[in-house]
Structure formats: C-alpha cells, structure tokens
C-alpha cells in the first residue's frame, strides 16, 4: 500500500532556496521557513534565521554591528543562487566591504540614498515585484529623531510580504514595525577590543544580540556576537 504525501506549497516554494545549503559543507541546514543570517549564533536565537513572509527588525545604536549582520545574511543568500535587495536609505553601503564579506554584488539590487519615505515605497515595490529572497531595508540613522514611519505603510508592507518566500528585514536605530514585526533583535552598543603594542590595531568588536520579539519563543534570550576586524 502506498501513501501519498502532499507537501506544503510553502515548503515547495522554499525548497530551491535551501538546496544549495544542503551540499555546502560545514553549514547547518536551517528550517525552510527562514532565511539564514549567515551567523550561526543569530540563527539559533531566531530559530533558523529571518522568517520568510514576515518582517524582522534589527535595531541598535551606531556601531553595534547591524551592517555586519546584514552583509553576512546577504552573502549567504547570494551564495545560494538567490537574489537579494538592499534598500539603503542612508547610502551607507561600502561595496568593497560587502564584496570582501562574500556578497555576490551582481545578485544584489541596491537602491541607495533614498530617504525614509522612499525607502518604504521602494521596499513595497521590491516585495510586490517578487523573486527576491531577502529584502533588507537599512534605515541607517534616518529613523532616529526624524518623522516616524507611517503605520499604514508598514501594514501594507507586512500584507505584501505575507505569503511570499521572502524575508523582509528592517535595520535601524529603533523599531518601526511595532507589532507587525514577527521578530526583532536588539544589538547592544559594541565593545571594541584593541591590540596594544606596535602601531595598535582594532582586533574585534563584540555585541550582544537580544531577542525582543519572536513569534514562537519567549523574548529575552541573548547571544554574544564577536566580529574580528
């Protein structure tokens, strides 16, 4: 007697995205409902990575490591053969830095220097356009003390990304998605480690990532992230 297994359509959509990772040595296979951040500790904290079809927020002060997290996840996505988009509201991307961290620049759609309002609209266009696995909206320092993001715009974005295989990530000084975000991670101010002697070198930056919002787990968990310079 044979049994017929009917796969979940959402899983089928996500299957090609994880296929490259199945054969990559040394990499964990995350749940198909998430896009890996490229950082194992952060993946564990988030339960596999940035959730697909949902908004994730990454917040923290200047120098806390948000850019490094974004570049690591963009590198992982592009190495998997997928397309990624970076809505760079503050025009802060350093392409050389991104390339050195493994981002396939040809697969990265970069919308640069557009300001807060246009960044939201650009994200909406990219989400609705489809075909991008990770859409990162780097608000830089725009959402600090300026005009807040209109809640209606975020609702519209959340509705648009829902049901797609894309992960939408907001990165900024403070949260803009409120309860519409499925997950949120707060990065603490970084601690720099210096190597003394000789000319002196910046050796590493360490930051604590704390889960402040999650759908399937209690917030409050934290992990230590250390980035070598």
């Amino acid at each position: 007697m044979t049994s017929v297994v009917r796969p979940d359509p959402a899983e089928l959509r996500a299957l090609p995205a994880v296929a490259p990772f199945l054969v990559r040595p040394g990499c964990r296979v995350g749940p198909r409902t998430a896009v890996s951040t490229g950082l194992a500790a952060l993946d564990d904290l988030l339960g596999g990575g940035f959730p697909r079809g949902a908004i994730t927020e990454l917040v923290g002060p200047r120098g806390c490591g948000r850019t490094t997290v974004l570049l690591a996840s963009l590198a992982r996505v592009t190495a998997g053969g997928a397309l990624a988009a970076l809505i760079d509201a503050g025009d802060g991307l350093d392409p050389g830095s991104a390339r050195d961290r493994g981002v396939a620049l040809e697969q990265l759609l970069w919308v640069r220097g557009v300001g807060l309002r246009q960044a939201i609209r650009a994200a909406d266009i990219v989400v609705r356009g489809g075909g991008f696995e990770l859409i990162a909206v780097d608000l830089g320092e725009l959402a600090g003390g300026g005009a807040p993001v209109a809640p209606a715009a975020v609702v519209r974005l959340q509705r648009a990304v829902e049901g797609t295989g894309a992960a939408l990530v907001f990165s900024g000084l403070r949260r803009v998605g409120g309860s519409l975000a499925t997950a949120a991670v707060a990065l603490s101010p970084a601690r720099a480690a210096w190597e003394r002697g000789g000319p002196g070198l910046l050796r590493a930056l360490a930051s604590q990532a704390r889960l402040v919002r999650a759908r399937d787990r209690a917030p409050g968990a934290a992990v230590e992230l250390v980035w070598a310079a």
Binding site: C64, G65, T67, D91, A122, G131, A190, L202
Partner: protein, 499 residues
C-alpha cells in the same frame, strides 16, 4: 465562392469620428461632427452615431449641422488619431491571420480559410476579431463570407458579427438594399426607375442587357450584387508601426497635463501590444513643439514590459528634469514590439523574477528614485576612497562564482558603513595621533582608543592624484570610526563607522 475561399471583413463605421473618440474618450456617446475643408467652407466630414441619429450628415455645411443639432460637438479631423486607429485595426487583423489586405484605413480583409479550427469555428473567430477591435477601442463590425465583396456589403448592412456559410452568399446578399453599393446619383435614379430595390433584384437582371444599358458600370454592379470580387486578394507586407499619437487643440506647458494626455496614449499602446501578445523594452516619446520643433526622448528597461503605469512613471521621472524650448502641441509614443520572454523555472535554483517581472520592478524603482540610484553595486578598479558605482541590475546569477567568493571571503568579519557624505572634522593631535575629534552629527570628544596611521596614495600620475592617512578611533559614543586626513588639503573627515 463555394467554399474555396473564406474572408473576414473587419470594418469600423464612421471611422474618423471613431478614431477621434478613441483618442479622446470624453467624446464617446456624444454627438460629434468631424470637420474638414478650407476655413471659409467648413463642412462635416464625418459624424458619430449620436449625431447621425440627430440628422447630421457628412457633407453638410457646419452652420446647417449646428442648426439641426445645437449641442453638436465640433472637432477638427485628426490625422494622427486616424493613423493610430488604422494601425491598431491592422494589428487586430494580423493577430488573427497572417494574410490581411488593407482596403482602406477603416477596413481590413482577412484570409481566414482554414483558421476556423484554431478558434473553434468561424463564429468564434468573428467574435475574437470584434473583441480584439474593442480592446483597442474601435467599434468594429465583422462579417465572414466567401468573398471580400460579400463581407464588405454585409458589414455595411448591419452592426455586429455575421457569418455566412459557404455557398449561402447570394441568399444573404439578396435582401440587402442597393444603396449599399454606394451608387452615383444618376445610376441610383436609373435603378429606382426600374424598380430595383435590392441586391437580389439587381443580381437577377440579365448581364448582357445590363451591360448594354448601363455600360461597364452595369456589369460591375451586378458582380458586386452577386458578391463577386473584382480583383485578387493582395495581402499587405508592410510592417505596422506601433505608434500612438495625438494632436492637441491646446498647448501644454506643464508636466502634469502632459502626463494626463500621455496616459491614455500609453494605455492604448499597451492594448495594441496585448493584441500582438508582445511587449516593449524601449519607448520613443516625441513631443511636437509650438515653435515647429520636435523633442525626442527614448526610454529603455531591461526586459520587455506591457505596463502603462510603469511606463508613465518612467516618463515622469525622465521628463521631470527636462526644460522644453516651447509648449507641446502634439505627442507620439512609439513602441518597438518584442516577445515577452517567459522564464523557465529551475527546480534546483531559488525562484527569481522573470525578466518581465524584474523589468517592471526596476522600472518602478527607477521612476521612484532615479536611474542613478538603482542597480548592482560596483567596486571601482581603484583604491581611491569612495570610488563606488552602480551597474545595471540584470539579475544574472553567477552561482559558482558566488559560492567561490563566499569561500574566499571573510563572512561575519567586521564591516564598515560609509557616512554619506563624510563628516568634516576638527582633530586635535598629540604626538602625531588624534586625541580629540569634533565632527558634525557625531558625539565628538576625546579619543578613547586609536590605531593608525594607514597611508594610501594613488593616481599620482594624473591630475586627480590622492594621498590620505587613515585612523581607527573610538569616540565617547562607543563606536569606532574611520578618520581620514586628506594630505593634499590637510582636511580631516570621518568617512565611515565600523558597524
């Protein structure tokens, strides 16, 4: 006749008025008279259905027409609109049959022998033609018969769609009035005196006697009444330009009104491309100016599109920075039709947008933020700081290269974020090293830790030579910044933060 040939006649009655209503949808359903002739003798060239119903007829002096219908809308004949309408009609025909004869701008004859099976039957084929014409805003009549003459007469006789089975043409034509033959007045009077009222009665007259009494016209008229064609079918081989144009009755001096006029043009162009089942990756916009000049713009996207909203947004973005020499008095948009390329999905790669989807997304983004702010990041082939660029984003996936890049890269290592623009800084040195930094937008103060200097220089063989000194400095806000000294000017700036 007799089933060896089948033709579909596609005819738009009151063509000049229909073309005008297509160009200006506000005229639809209104009594419109299209005027022509020298300024001192303006006459009605064509009328809309509503004007016809009110008794206005082509050839009338304008004064008489207005006296019959005071609310008559009078418009000048628009050659551009008629050309666009004729091309759209031809596209509808060519979308159904590759063999089309253009008898007049308002009428196309299609060779449909053997095509019925493709669409179900001839009735469906005729419906398809009528719907195709309606999709490009042309109210067309369709008749399918064994001869072009029969089709022409049948479309003139009644609106809608008519299919005459093979061999039934004489019976179908017989009850139709002889006026459909567009007889000269003298000839019409003669037939009237003879008591000939219908085509069937005319067709039944003896040919020899008719030729004796009416000359060559008699034989020709009898052949038409029998539904016989006078000449061979000559299919057109001319390419159909995909152009929509309009001549304006007023001058446009602002962008918004221009876009308001342009929107229906683009929508009609998209409808025509839909009839062709094609799209376009380039759009040529020509603005006719009041001083007689032309202003041309050419827009391109990465893959064919058929989205009037996206094109309109692109045109808006393109024209926003343009100053024209004179007001705009006419507009024309031309598309270069190309097939819409579907993407064959791959089971073993992540889903990515089709070229069409991607072009639509890029087009909308370009319209939103400008072409120079959308693309793929590029690392310039220089060590000059800040030398970055944007390349067109194609969505091409170099997967092996990407995996190799990741293998040799240092993922997860500390990255830096550019401060755009770099913040000019006042730096206090002590022992050659920065000890205090003040910069706009930063919480300046004493440097808590620093590393450096790293000196770089380049392009010393050109006039754009650069030389700088970089420091990593930790400031009181806890962040670590990259501080740079331009050694040529001696100016300091904070240009990045480790983040």
């Amino acid at each position: 006749m007799g089933g060896v040939a089948r033709y579909a006649c596609l005819w738009v009655p009151r063509f000049a008025a229909a073309a005008l209503a297509r160009s200006d949808p506000a005229l639809r359903g209104k009594p419109v008279a299209v005027l022509a002739g020298p300024p001192t003798m303006r006459t009605v060239h064509e009328v809309s259905d509503a004007a016809w119903a009110a008794g206005v007829r082509p050839g009338m002096p304008v004064a008489e027409a207005v006296s019959r219908l005071p609310g008559l809308v009078r418009r000048e004949r628009d050659g551009e609109a008629e050309r666009s309408a004729a091309a759209a009609l031809l596209e509808v025909a060519l979308a159904t049959s590759p063999r089309v004869e253009v008898e007049a701008p308002d009428r196309a004859q299609l060779d449909v022998l053997g095509l019925a099976g493709l669409f179900g039957d001839e009735a469906r084929l005729a419906e398809r033609l009528a719907l195709g014409a309606a999709s490009v805003d042309l109210p067309a009549r369709v008749a399918i018969a064994g001869s072009r003459t029969a089709g022409r007469l049948l479309t003139r006789a009644a609106p809608g769609v008519r299919v005459v089975p093979p061999g039934a043409e004489p019976a179908a034509l017989a009850p139709l009035p002889v006026e459909l033959l567009a007889l000269p007045a003298a000839l019409a009077g003669t037939l009237d005196r003879w008591g000939i009222r219908t085509l069937g009665e005319l067709a039944a007259l003896p040919p020899a006697g008719l030729a004796t009494r009416l000359g060559p016209d008699g034989a020709r008229l009898r052949a038409q009444a029998r539904g016989e064609d006078a000449g061979p079918f000559v299919p057109t081989a001319e390419p159909v330009p995909c152009v929509e144009a309009v001549a304006l009755e007023w001058e446009l001096t602002a962008l918004e009104p221009l876009l308001f006029v342009l929107r229906p043009l683009l929508e009609r162009l998209a409808a025509r491309l839909a009839v062709r089942e094609q799209g376009t990756a380039t759009l040529a916009l020509t603005c006719g100016l009041a001083d007689g000049g032309l202003h041309r713009r050419r827009l391109s996207v990465s893959a064919p599109l058929r989205e009037p909203r996206t094109w309109l947004a692109l045109v808006r973005a393109d024209l926003e920075g343009v100053a024209l020499d004179a007001p705009v008095v006419s507009l024309a948009v031309e598309a270069t039709p190309v097939p819409l390329v579907p993407l064959q999905p791959d089971l073993f790669t992540p889903r990515r947008p089709s070229p069409h989807e991607l072009a639509r997304t890029l087009g909308a983004l370009t319209a939103l933020v400008g072409a120079d702010r959308v693309g793929a990041p590029v690392v310039a082939d220089t060590h000059r700081p800040g030398a970055i660029g944007v390349a067109p984003f194609t969505g091409a996936i170099a997967r092996q290269a990407a995996v190799a890049a990741l293998a040799f890269a240092r993922p997860g290592t500390l990255a830096c974020r550019r401060l755009s623009p770099p913040r000019p800084a006042r730096v206090t040195l002590e022992g050659g090293a920065p000890r205090r930094v003040e910069a706009a937008g930063l919480r300046g103060g004493p440097v808590t830790a620093s590393a450096g200097p790293w000196r770089t220089a380049g392009e010393w063989w050109t006039e754009t030579a650069w030389s700088r000194e970089e420091w990593d400095v930790a400031l009181p806000d806890g962040a670590v910044y990259r501080l740079a000294l331009d050694r040529a000017s001696g100016e300091w700036a904070v240009d990045a933060v480790y983040d």
